[in-house]
Every structure is written in C-alpha cells, then in structure tokens.
C-alpha cells in the first residue's frame, strides 16, 4: 500500500495503520477503481485545485477577510477557473443556495475588476444575477415532502448528488424551455438511479413543462422578434438591474450595521466599495440617494461626523441634487456648523427642493435660538404648503421652545386631526402635555401611540420618560430595558435607563451604564452630560467639571453642557464663575428658564435675595422649570427667616407638583426646614423613600435626632464614599453627634449644620 502527496514526486509506502490519520473526518472520499499512480496523481491535483478554489471564493465573498487574502484569492481563482472542471465544481456548489446577507458581492466584483480577472468577474456577475432564481429553487427543494425520502439523511444524500452532479445549477440556469432536458438528464443519471424513489423526487422538484399548442402556433415573425430581442443587452438589463439592486441593498445593510456598531473605518471602506460599484452600474442619482439614506442612518445612531462625510460625498457626486443639499444642511446642523447649514439649505432651495430647504432653514434658526425667525419661517412654509406636515410639526415645536405651551398644544392637536397617522405629531402632543405637567394625559397619549405604532422607538422612550417623571421608577426602568432589548442601537433608551438608575439612587450602576453608552456612542452629547451629572452626584466634582468642559468643547452648540458646568461650579462654591456662566447663556438664549433658575440659586447663595426674586416667575407653576423656580422661592423664605412661608411652599410643592423629581426636591427642602426646628419626625416623613446623597445626609440627621441609630447608620453607610466636600463635612458632624459610639458631642453649632444642609439642597 502507498499514498500520494501533492508535493512529493514518488508514492510513499503506507500501512493500514495510517488510515485513521489519512482519512480522519473526511466526508469527500472518492473511489477510483482500477487506476494507475499517474491517474491517481492527476485526480489528486484536480481535487486539490477544486478544494482550494472553493475555499478561495468563500474568502473572496467574506466581507471580514483581509484585503491581502482576498487579492490572492482573486489571482488564484482567475487561474483555477480556466479549468472547466474546477469552474464546474465551484459553480455547482455556489448555485445550490443563495448567498447569505453577509456576503460581499460588491467588494468581490470590485476586486475582480481591478485585477482584470475576467473569468472570475463573469462568474460573479452571473452568480449575482441568478440569486433570485437560486433562492426560488432552493426553497422548492427544501419544501419537498419528507415522505418522498427514506428519512432526513436520505434527503441530504439526494441533495448532495443534485449539487455535485451539477443538476442543481442546471435547474437554476435553464430557461423554461430547457427545463425538460434537465429533468431527462437527471432521470438518466446513474447517480440518481441508485437512490430510492428518484423519479418521484426529481419530477416533484423539476415538474416537466408542457408545451402549449397556442404558443406553438406563434408566427415566424414573433419568433424572430424574440430571438432578436434576446440578442440585445436590453434583454439582460432587467436581470442585471435586479442583481445590482440586490447587491447595493446588501452592501448598504452591511454599512448600516458597521455604523450602528461603531466600526467607522470599516463602514468607510464599504462605502468606498459601494460608490465605486454603483457609479459604474447605476445613475449618479442612485448613488447620491444611497449615500443620503446611509447618512440618515448615521444620524439616527448619533454618528454625525460620518453623517456629514456621507452627504458631502453625495453632493460631490451630484452637486445639483436639492435633496442631497438639504441633507447636507441637516448634517451640518447636527455638528453645529450653523452658518454652513444655512448656506446648504439656500443651495437646496436654488436646486428646486423648496419645502425641505425651507423647513431645514427653520430648523437651523431654532437651533441658533432665533426662535422668532424660526417661527416665521415655518409659518411661511405652512402658508405656502399647507399639507407639509413637517412644517406644521416644526411650528408646534418652536412654540413649545418659546414656552408658548398652550399654542403648541393646539397646533399639535390640529396636526393630529389633519394627519392622524403622523406619529411625530402624536408624540409631539404627548411631550407638550408632559411639559405642562399633565403627566397622566401624556402617559395616556404615549400609550395610544405605542399601541398604534409599536415599532416607534420615540413613543416607547417617551412613555418610559413619563413614567419616570411620575416617579414610577421601576416601571420606567422595565420599559427602558425592553426598548434596549428591542432596539439595541438606540442611544436614547440607554441614556434613559441610566437616568432612571440615577433617580433610584443607584449611582454606581448609573455611572457604569453611562460609561458603556459613551464607549458605544462617542458622539452622543446626552451620554457625555449624563456621565458628568452622575459624577457630580457622587461628589466627584473635579471630574464632573472636566467632563462638562470637554463636552462644551466638543459640542459647542449644546445648551446642557454649559448648564452642567455652571451647576458644578456652584457646587464647588465658585459662585462668581457660575454666575458668569449663566449670564453668558442667557445673553444667547434669553428664554432659557433653566439658566434663569440656575442664576437665581447662585444669587441666593450669594445672599442677593432680592435680585433672585426679581428673575423668578411669579405665576402659579406649571412647567418643571416653574416648579423649580417655586422651590427657590421657598428656599429664599427659609433663609430670610420666614420658615412658615417656606414650609407652606415646600408642602404645596411636595403634594401638588406633577414631577417626581421636583416633589423629591420639595421633600428635601421641607426636611431642611423641619430639621432647623428640630422637628425630627416631620423631617423623616418629608423625606419619604427618596434615594439620593442629599436625602441620605438629611436622613442621618432626622433619624439620629429620633434616636433611631440603625436607620441613621444605614444612611451613613450608603453615602460614606461620597466625595462632595459639604457632604463630607456634614457626615463628620452628624456621625459624631448621632452614630459613632460615645456619640452626642457636637463639634459644630446647629446653625452651621443648617447652613450646610441649606447649601447642599440648593446645589443638588
């Protein structure tokens, strides 16, 4: 006995002991009866080339494979495919199942083209064009009744013969008029004849086509027309167009996935391949449209830099396309390049894309804080194009930003009445209801939208957010977790979940969540701000400040980051800097009620009470910022010695404010007021079950005063690692008074304790 090795000229003596090693798990054993060494060598060589060709084409189609490996694959395949037996071997297999969605036909074709590998190029083009037919024939094969075979293994074996004999491929490639020949060949093939029930199997899978007498009587002219048409490239065009369409679709899916997963470099490479492929095979408009579609996807995941690159490429390919120019304007808006965004919309207008351009311009004006101009722009679009729902919603949104909530609500209600299927209007209405403090109605609205549009992630997130606002934190968390499960790439759900964890006092978990979100979505400003806010809550003020400063630098037009920076400066006691920050924001955004409240709280800490009162709202509170302003009024009363008025305000807010977060603030403030009077039971009651570092400090005081050392100790345990300087100083004093053994000795005065607690609540 001897064996042949591919690279060895002579046979090598072998024993039966080698058989387990030589054959191992082989499933492609071929018998060559009565052969010679030379013939066996030739068969081995052919088998090797066939095997390698199959490996190489799979490498070439594998999007994840290295460029170098793919280039070698192209080179070798072009050589191997010159042998018809190798080509048939590979094609028999490739035509037996549709390419998976992950296959990179576009990349493979581009590589074949760039290497002038014409045989390989032709194989790939034909394979691409045949995908629909392959899919159909594979489905038909899979659907063959199980009782045609002697069990699942028999069907596998039959399928193996169908593939390796080339029958599968011939079935795919045959015109309808040729299918009977394929069937006849199969029936005559000994490889099928050895299999049980082969006739029934083949005729079930390849039903014979009966010739129609009417068709047979077609005129000679009609026949000649058909033949002539078949010779033109027009005949091939529908099949080829469909193949191009399918390839582009798959390539775009792969790009979107790469974008969603943050694999920016890979996405960029796939985009280059897509553009190179599509420009050669489609109109320029198609390529520009593909790029704009991809840009919208990039926007949806917060990848604004990539969004911009994609639309810039689209406008380079087709500068006269108004849609691409409008998309460019939107991308520029997303990265904060407002004046360029306005220019792009002007160009879009000149290219004839009137509605989108004017809406885009209004959106930019809104982002710039030029709300009156934005409103005017939207109103003009609505006047000229009353059916433009984007303008109608845009107008409502600007009214909301101006604080004209009742008008905004009316606007949304009209849009919903005119366009009941417009989900943006319905969620917009819910948001205005929420802003008005009508949280139960907002929740009902969101629940109806979710019922009608279960795939709308904005509605799902909106519902979760209202639950959080109501203080139904466990439900809010569950809701966000379901959204994250259903839409894993939605950053709003991820940051929403982090916020709920923070509201529950689970600050370490909230921080971990934010850190993961920032890692997965580095362009998302909400995640960056959220992380900073949790650091502040943990008392890590220096880190929080650094975080906010980086956010301000990276997102210069974002309003939340400068708010956050001002709040951290306030918490650090750098009050003059905080005041300057707020004045700066208000000079650009005079309607910004958050900054107004922030500035008022700084003025209170500076004991400039009258100035603070002047800027605070006087009316009955409605919005969340109104309630915060009301809370500050209460704090002023408390500080200026009018404890009764303060307690009334806090009690009113605790019981009347629709927002959980503000109710928690009123509860804490009420506790501070009660503790000043040593009313420990009332103070403990005011705190309720709220979890936050400030409430835990107050809890130590309240329960310590009540002699409930266990409760006080538990609160101390929860916040002992908090690094906020005021928290640390208070913990030392309160622990000494109430918790540590030999307790009772006060190091500081009660007034000192009140001052610190007051300051803590105002800077929370």
């Amino acid at each position: 006995m001897s064996s042949l090795h591919l690279d060895s000229p002579q046979p090598i003596p072998t024993s039966k002991a080698d058989i387990p090693y030589l054959f191992a798990d082989a499933t492609d054993v071929v018998e060559l009866p009565e052969t010679t060494v030379e013939k066996a060598g030739a068969a081995l060589d052919l088998s090797w080339r066939q095997d390698r060709a199959l490996h190489l084409i799979l490498i070439l189609l594998d999007r994840e494979a290295d460029d170098e490996a793919r280039r070698i694959a192209v080179e070798c395949l072009e050589e191997f495919l010159a042998d018809s037996e190798v080509s048939a071997f590979v094609c028999n297999r490739l035509y037996s199942a549709p390419l998976p969605d992950s296959a990179d036909m576009v990349g493979a074709l581009l590589l074949a083209e760039s290497a002038s590998a014409s045989r390989l190029d032709a194989l790939l083009e034909d394979l691409g064009e045949s995908q629909a037919e392959i899919c159909r024939r594979r489905r038909e094969w899979d659907a063959l009744a199980a009782d045609l075979f002697d069990g699942p293994q028999a069907k596998l074996g039959f399928g193996y013969v169908a593939v390796t004999s080339g029958t599968f491929r011939r079935v795919v490639q045959s015109e309808p008029g040729q299918i009977n020949s394929v069937l006849v060949e199969g029936l005559a093939d000994r490889r099928f004849q050895r299999l049980a029930n082969f006739r029934n199997v083949l005729t079930s899978w390849i039903p014979p086509v009966r010739a129609d007498r009417k068709l047979a009587q077609r005129s000679e002219e009609e026949e000649e027309d058909d033949r002539s048409y078949a010779r033109t490239s027009d005949a091939a065009r529908p099949k080829r167009s469909h193949a191009v369409f399918e390839n582009v679709k798959k390539q775009k899916e792969a790009i979107k996935q790469a974008i969603s997963e943050g694999r920016t470099a890979q996405a960029a490479k796939y985009v280059d391949d897509l553009v190179a492929y599509q420009l050669k095979r489609s109109e320029r408009e198609d390529t520009a449209k593909s790029l704009c579609d991809l840009a919208m996807h990039a926007k949806s995941v917060g990848a604004h830099e990539l969004q911009l690159k994609l639309v810039e490429l689209a406008t380079k390919i087709l500068p006269s396309d108004g849609w691409s120019q409008a998309q460019l304007g939107d991308a520029l808006l997303c990265v904060g390049r407002f004046s360029e965004a306005l220019d792009a919309h002007r160009t879009a207008l000149e290219c004839g894309n009137v509605e989108v351009a004017r809406n885009g311009r209004a959106e930019v004006l809104k982002a710039l804080g030029r709300l009156d101009e934005a409103l005017r722009e939207y109103e003009e679009v609505v006047r000229d194009f009353p059916h433009n729902v984007v303008a109608r919603n845009g107008r409502a949104e600007v009214l909301k930003a101006l604080g004209r909530l009742d008008e905004a609500l009316r606007e949304y209600e009209e849009v919903v009445s005119d366009f009941p299927q417009d989900v943006v209007a319905r969620t917009g209405r819910a948001e205005v209801l929420k802003a008005l403090g009508r949280l139960d109605e907002a929740l009902r609205e969101y629940e109806e939208v979710v019922r009608d549009f279960p795939q709308d992630v904005v509605a799902r997130n909106g519902r979760a957010e209202v639950l959080k606002a109501l203080g139904r934190l466990d439900e809010a968390l569950r809701e966000y977790e379901e959204v994250v499960r259903d839409f894993p790439h939605n950053v709003v759900a991820r940051t929403g979940r982090a916020e709920v964890l923070k509201a529950q006092g689970r600050l370490d978990e909230a921080l971990r969540e934010y850190e993961e979100v920032v890692r997965d979505f580095p362009h998302d400003v909400i995640a960056r701000n959220g992380r900073a806010e949790v650091l502040k809550a943990l008392g890590r003020l220096d880190e929080a400040l650094r975080e906010y400063e980086e956010a301000v630098r990276d997102f210069p037009h974002d309003l939340v980051a400068p708010h956050g920076r001002a709040e951290v400066l306030k918490a650090m006691g750098r009050l003059d800097e905080a005041l300057r920050e707020y004045r700066e924001i208000l000079s650009q955004f005079p309607n910004d009620s958050y900054s107004r409240n922030g500035m008022a709280s700084v003025l209170v800490l500076l004991a400039r009470y009258y100035e603070a009162l002047e800027i605070l709202p006087q009316e009955e509170p409605r919005t969340v910022d109104d309630w915060i302003g009301y809370h500050i009024r209460g704090m002023i009363s408390l500080k200026t010695g009018d404890a009764s008025s303060a307690i009334d305000i806090f009690w009113h807010g605790l019981h009347k404010s629709p927002w959980h977060e503000t109710r928690a603030g009123f509860g804490r403030a009420l506790a501070v007021a009660r503790l000043r009077r040593s009313e420990f039971p009332a103070a403990a009651e005011a705190l309720g079950g709220e979890r936050s570092p400030v409430s835990d400090v107050l809890r130590i005081h309240a329960f310590g005063g009540l002699g409930e050392i266990q409760e006080a100790g538990a609160a101390l345990e929860r916040i002992k690692t908090n690094r906020h300087p005021t928290v640390a100083a208070l913990l030392q004093e309160l622990a000494t008074r109430y918790v540590v053994p030999g307790r009772g000795e006060a190091l500081r005065s009660d007034e000192w304790v009140f001052e610190r607690e007051f300051e803590l609540e105002l800077t929370a």
Binding site: T14, D51, R93, G157
Partner: protein
C-alpha cells in the same frame, strides 16, 4: 532522568495533523458562507465508513472502542506542538481543558497494536497496561519509553523520544491519543503550519490567521 521525562510529559499536548484546507474548514464552522456552501450542500455525507478500506480498521476499533468507534478521533501526544506531519502540514494542538475529561492515551498506533497482539478473532480484549487516562499519560509514556532514555539525554531531545516521525509508517513511533466526541475550533490552542509553497495556500493561511485571531490561538509558520 525518568522523573524529568515524566514531568515533561505532564505538560504534553494532543496534536492532530491535517492539511490546510481541512483546518480552514474546521475553524470556519460558525461562518454563514461555509455553512451554506461547504457543509450543507458541498461536502455531503460520503464518509470513510462507506469505503472498502475502512473494513481493515474495524478489528482494532471493535476491540478497543466497542459500540462507540465512530465517535473516536485519533491524535498523537506531543512535547513540542508538532505532530506527524506526513498526514498534513498543519499541526493543531488542542486545549487541555477541552479534552482532558474525554481523552485517553494509548501505547502506539492502535491498528499496529491490534496486529501485534492478535486482537480480533482470537483475542477480544486488549491486554492491560497499554492504555491510560489523560491525567496519567506520564506513567504510560515512562513505561513505554524508559529504555530510550540515557543519563545524558538532553531536555530538548525529549520531543524526539516521544515522537519519531519517519518517511514511512515503519519508522514512526508515537503515543496515540483517543478523543471521544467532535472537535470544535474553540478547542484549538495553537496551530503550526509548514510555510506554504503554493500561492492559494498563502491566501488561505492568511485567512486562517484572521479567523483564529479573535479566538486566541496563535498560528506559527515554520520552515522545514
């Protein structure tokens, strides 16, 4: 000297040698492309059991692995990560954790052993002392190879004592490893490949490295 040899064998590994295409197929088991075209429809079910040659192996298997012979994979014990390369130019070493509970070692090639000891018609059981569990492979190796060790045998000669690979089967000498059950790419610790001479194999090797990279195993290329 024997103690040093036994200690070295306690770190020995199981290695199989296959050609590059087979290894590539093994490591691509989770790939959609391979699943569509290599496994499901391409390589069918034509197994060695269906060939006449296979009959010759059956005697040893029936005695050594009664009723479960089709579940056994045959490997060799190695001290340097290299196997019997005349069966394939890729030596694939498996992770201890992946095999230690389902592997035994055997004195030598089981077919040769069956011939030598007349297993089959006359003898239905293998004599004791020639098979050991994975954890006791050092004992079996010591019992078999003590005579090959000299007082001046160097440490780096141990791999050659453990496994002698000749040009033909007559010159081979190794300790066989029997593993029950299938092998998966996650069982692979590392791969050593002879530097390919053919361009197609260079491309496939490149892809092999890429596929294994996230799983951890190294791929070393050697010139022999």
């Amino acid at each position: 000297m024997l103690a040093r040899f036994r200690e070295a064998v306690r770190s020995s590994e199981a290695v199989l040698c296959r050609n590059l295409g087979v290894v590539m197929h093994l490591v691509s088991s989770d790939s959609e492309l391979y699943g569509s075209f290599y496994d499901l429809v391409g390589m069918g079910a034509r197994r060695p059991e269906e060939t006449p040659i296979e009959v010759q192996r059956r005697v040893a298997d029936d005695v050594l692995f009664p009723h479960y012979q089709d579940k056994i994979r045959f490997l060799a014990l190695t001290l340097n990560g290299i196997g019997a390369t005349r069966f394939g130019n890729c030596s694939v070493v498996l992770k201890q954790a992946a095999i230690q509970d389902r592997a035994t070692v055997f004195e030598e090639n089981s077919v040769l052993f069956a011939e030598k000891h007349d297993l089959g018609a006359r003898r239905h059981r293998a004599p004791a002392g020639f098979r050991a569990t994975w954890s006791r492979r050092d004992q079996l190796a010591a019992a078999k190879l003590e005579g090959e060790l000299r007082p001046d045998t160097e440490l780096d000669a141990f791999p050659g004592v453990m496994m002698k690979e000749g040009a033909t089967w007559e010159d081979d000498q190794f300790i066989e490893v029997h593993i029950y059950g299938p092998l998966h790419r996650k069982s692979i610790a590392r791969v050593t490949v002879d530097r390919p001479k053919r361009r197609a194999d260079i491309g496939i090797l490149q892809d092999l490295k890429r596929v294994l990279r996230p799983l951890g195993p190294s791929v070393d290329v050697v010139d022999r």
